[in-house]
């Protein structure tokens, strides 16, 4: 609390009662990143003891989009595909933080006995993934990079949730799946082989990640709170970097995994701290490269006819809160 | 006998004012019955203190006529007036005892009888008194707390009579109310009804298939013929003026003459209009 008052005092602002909201509502998703750790450590609560902190769990970016649109949350976390859909549809939010870039935590796993060695061998096979997720986007991107057209090459893409993917896998109904943890590990243990991971793809420019969004009004009204939350996130990332063991212990409950497994998945994504944000979010004069990633994502989805059209790069650039990391 | 005050007041101003009037009534049920109307051009006036008995062969349209009088059935053509106003729907002024009992199956007998009183906002103590009076009248005190399905056929019919009488309407329409009763209960009920009428002089319209019953009760007797249903006889019953006992009336010459006349009129209807016979 001393930190909070000092910041307020430093900036010469009015006391929190008028400049701070009564309540901060955060829509989070269970992903092994800094936000979840900040929640587990209770950092935000410690920073703003007089503000009610309300953590609301979501299971998909679609629901976060809806909640944002209905004004039910102030902060939210979405993956790149739903995020760019939201921006393309001019939902009332802006990006303030890139939490992580997905690495090996999402991967294409195929049956060892399916004869699939590379993406080229997917022809005529059945591959499951959760549509509109980062995995789905990565899978489509990977195929496109290899110039494979799922329709022409008769690759059946199936829209399934993780438990159903596991069930279908056990029945040999599918040949493979592009999926995240913990299902990914389960598939590997049940005779699966990894063909390609999101880390490989990100190196080829097919980047997927998860980023924080904030309600436009809220960001305009309480810029200090946004900055304060960024400092909290930064603190959480550093805590993880310094004490990965403790961090994994803290997250294991939310993740539903053992501490060891938790640590493994935490390591499979790239955690970003505040200092790395400038590169992605940019400055007012020079928008960051996240806009390009989102634009690419949007364009790709427009080509897939998932969204009717992808707006210009400027729209994505305007969606970035670029004045936070000067 | 207890009668609530409004009825008493009414009974004092004995007159011949028309209570219900049917003008040129005809009735078709959809397009069945070979295009013949069920009721054809019926004109009928019921006075405020009439006691009308309606006789007629089975299926001639007696119940249909009663339904029109009650406001349950809209006639295809013609007008129904009650107290000189158009009569377009069921009304609390016109009580009905149905051919089939029609008790509310989820209410005890007591509650069934009480229903009409409740609807008239009669006070609770008065309701209690009236219910027990009418239960006694129809001999169902011991079945007060039973549900209709627990009663015998005749008991149900009696309960439904009590239910209608209890509300004390201006006119009572009864559709073969005593047909399921044994001779003695029936005789008792007849005596009760006649007494009720003599005291209150309310308008009673009484369908029966028993010519003797009609002669003993009715001030006025109607006979219907069927196919199409129409009223062929409308006579003032001379017997209703007599003050002799039932037994005496039954043994009078006039009684058996009238009985013979009515029976042959009804029989005539059959001979003329139906193929129903004993030709086998």
């Amino acid at each position: 609390s001393s930190q909070e008052t000092s910041t307020a005092a430093k900036n010469g602002e009015s006391p929190p009662s008028s400049s701070a909201p009564k309540e901060i509502r955060l829509g989070y998703q269970v992903s092994p990143n800094g936000e979840l750790l900040a929640k587990a450590l209770g950092l935000l609560e410690k920073k703003y003891p007089r503000i009610k902190i309300n953590w609301i769990k979501f299971d998909s970016g679609r629901d976060v989009n809806n909640a944002m649109a209905s004004g039910s949350i102030d902060f939210g976390l979405v993956g790149t595909p739903p995020g760019s859909i939201g921006i393309a549809n001019k939902l009332p939010y802006q990006v303030y933080y890139l939490h992580d870039i997905i690495g090996e935590s999402e991967a294409l796993v195929v049956k060892k006995d399916s004869g699939i060695q590379s993406l080229k061998d997917l022809k005529g096979k059945k591959i499951a993934t959760t549509f509109s997720s980062t995995s789905h986007f990565s899978l489509l991107g990977a195929l496109k990079a290899e110039n494979i057209n799922p329709e022409k090459d008769r690759i059946t893409l199936l829209d399934m949730q993780p438990p159903d993917i596991y069930a279908a896998w056990k029945r040999d109904d599918i040949d493979g799946a592009y999926i995240w943890q913990p299902t990914q590990t389960k598939l590997i243990n049940e005779g699966g082989r990894v063909i390609v991971t999101s880390k490989d793809l990100s190196e080829k420019g097919i980047v997927t990640g998860e980023f924080g969004i904030v309600n436009k009004e809220f960001a305009k009204k309480y810029p200090e709170i946004v900055k304060g939350y960024i400092s909290v996130l930064d603190k959480a990332v550093h805590y993880y970097r310094d004490n990965p063991k403790q961090a994994s212990q803290l997250l294991s409950k939310e993740l539903g995994l053992s501490p060891e497994e938790s640590l493994k998945t935490m390591k499979q994504i790239i955690w970003l701290d505040a200092s790395q944000q400038k590169d992605f979010l940019g400055e007012p004069e020079k928008p960051g490269k996240l806009a390009k990633i989102l634009k690419d994502t949007g364009d790709f989805m427009a080509k897939q006819k998932n969204i009717s059209s992808s707006p210009s790069l400027a729209v994505y650039q305007q969606a970035l809160l670029s004045d936070l990391y000067k | 006998m207890y009668v609530s005050t409004p009825a008493k007041a009414r009974s004092e101003m004995l007159n011949n004012r028309t209570l219900i009037e049917l003008k040129n009534i005809s009735l078709y049920y959809s397009n069945e019955n070979n295009g013949l109307p069920i009721l054809d051009n019926i004109n009928l006036q019921l006075d405020v203190n009439d006691f009308v008995c309606l006789l007629g062969p089975s299926g001639c349209g007696k119940s249909s006529l009663l339904n029109i009088l009650a406001g349950f059935q809209k006639p295809t053509t013609g007008e129904v007036m009650i107290n000189d106003k158009p009569h377009t729907g069921p009304s609390p002024n016109v009580g009905v005892v149905f051919q089939h009992h029609n008790l509310f199956p989820w209410m005890t007998i007591e509650k069934n009888i009480e229903f009409g009183l409740k609807m008239k906002s009669v006070s609770k103590s008065e309701r209690k008194r009236l219910v027990s009076y009418y239960l006694n009248l129809v001999g169902l005190e011991s079945s007060a707390k039973m549900l209709p399905y627990q009663l015998s056929g005749g008991m149900k019919q009696r309960a439904s009579i009590a239910r209608t009488l209890a509300t004390d309407p201006q006119a009572i329409l009864m559709d073969e109310p005593f047909s399921a009763l044994d001779a003695l209960t029936r005789e008792n009920m007849q005596i009760h009804l006649l007494e009720l009428w003599k005291k209150t002089r309310k308008c009673i319209f009484f369908i029966t298939h028993d010519v003797e019953e009609a002669l003993l009760l009715g001030k006025r007797i109607l006979v219907m013929h069927s196919k199409p249903g129409r009223i062929v006889v409308d006579l003032q019953n001379p017997l209703s003026q007599y003050s002799q006992s039932v037994q005496e009336i039954k043994h009078s010459k006039e009684f058996s003459d009238l009985r013979y006349y009515l029976i042959s009129t009804i029989r005539n209807s059959k001979a003329n209009n139906t193929v129903f016979g004993m030709n086998h």
Partner: protein
């Protein structure tokens, strides 16, 4: 004269219904065009119409619109037919005999309220990701309302009516077929209408897994991409088809059950 009167009444009710629909359409048009509601969630009628034309022309994600509809209807009808021919006979036996009811009752009472989403993975495990598991899910959701309404209506058949039939020489199976079934049919049809509604409402859940066609999947998929124009096309199509189906059943009810509510 009488039939004319009925006609007039029918025209009037039809008219009121149409006014009611038109009113909703007007409210929709006005509220969206004046941007009272975010068009991302409640699209304008024009954009829905445009999306509809587009869907007719191009289909949705690799299948024509009619394929989507027919695939869904195939699943739906198969499930409903299966449910009808299992739930109604079973319900009739259970309604007749407390002992048979006692066998099945705990099972049906238990599974009945379970959310399909909670046990769908099990169905996938047992029946695979093809139509089989989808139809099973739809079947299960249709079964319960049909079963309940059958049982309770059988229990309500007057005992005297059954006695009459038995005395007329009907064997027990014949009583079931010729007396109890027709007595219950009005109730069963009402139950069937509820079942259709419930099954229909489960369609999206059923097509959530491993579907690449079906109107339910289309709606769900489009909603992921905030394509609410397509979502609305799907919803309106589903609603329209459902109204059509229900209308046919109600017509049948109207024609067939003229005796209901008139017996004394």
């Amino acid at each position: 004269m009488a039939p004319k009167f009925v006609c007039k009444k029918q025209v009037l009710t039809r008219g009121i219904s149409i006014i009611s629909i038109v009113l909703i359409l007007i409210i929709w048009t006005v509220s969206t065009n004046l941007k009272w509601v975010d068009p991302v969630f409640l699209p304008t009628p024009q954009s829905v119409w445009k999306a509809f034309l587009e869907l007719i022309r191009d289909g949705y994600k690799g299948a024509s619109l009619s394929t989507h509809i027919l695939n869904s209807l195939y699943r739906l009808f198969l499930a409903l037919i299966l449910a009808f021919f299992t739930a109604v006979p079973l319900g009739m036996f259970c309604g007749m005999s407390k002992y048979i009811l006692a066998i099945f009752d705990p099972i049906i009472e238990f599974y009945r309220p379970l959310p399909p989403l909670a046990y769908y993975a099990l169905l996938v495990l047992w029946l695979g990701i093809d139509d089989k598991s989808k139809i099973a899910l739809l079947f299960l959701s249709a079964f319960a309302p049909l079963f309940i309404s059958t049982v309770s209506s059988v229990q309500r058949v007057p005992q005297d009516r059954i006695n009459a039939a038995l005395s007329l020489g009907a064997s027990k199976p014949k009583v079931l077929l010729y007396i109890i079934l027709p007595s219950c049919l009005p109730d069963i049809i009402t139950g069937f209408r509820t079942a259709i509604g419930v099954t229909y409402a489960t369609l999206v859940a059923a097509e959530m897994v491993a579907a690449t066609s079906g109107i339910g999947w289309m709606v769900l998929d489009a909603s992921k991409y905030l394509r609410s124009d397509i979502v609305f096309v799907g919803i309106i199509l589903m609603g329209g088809i459902a109204i059509l189906m229900d209308g046919i059943i109600r017509l049948y009810q109207h024609i067939q059950f003229s005796w209901v509510g008139k017996q004394d």
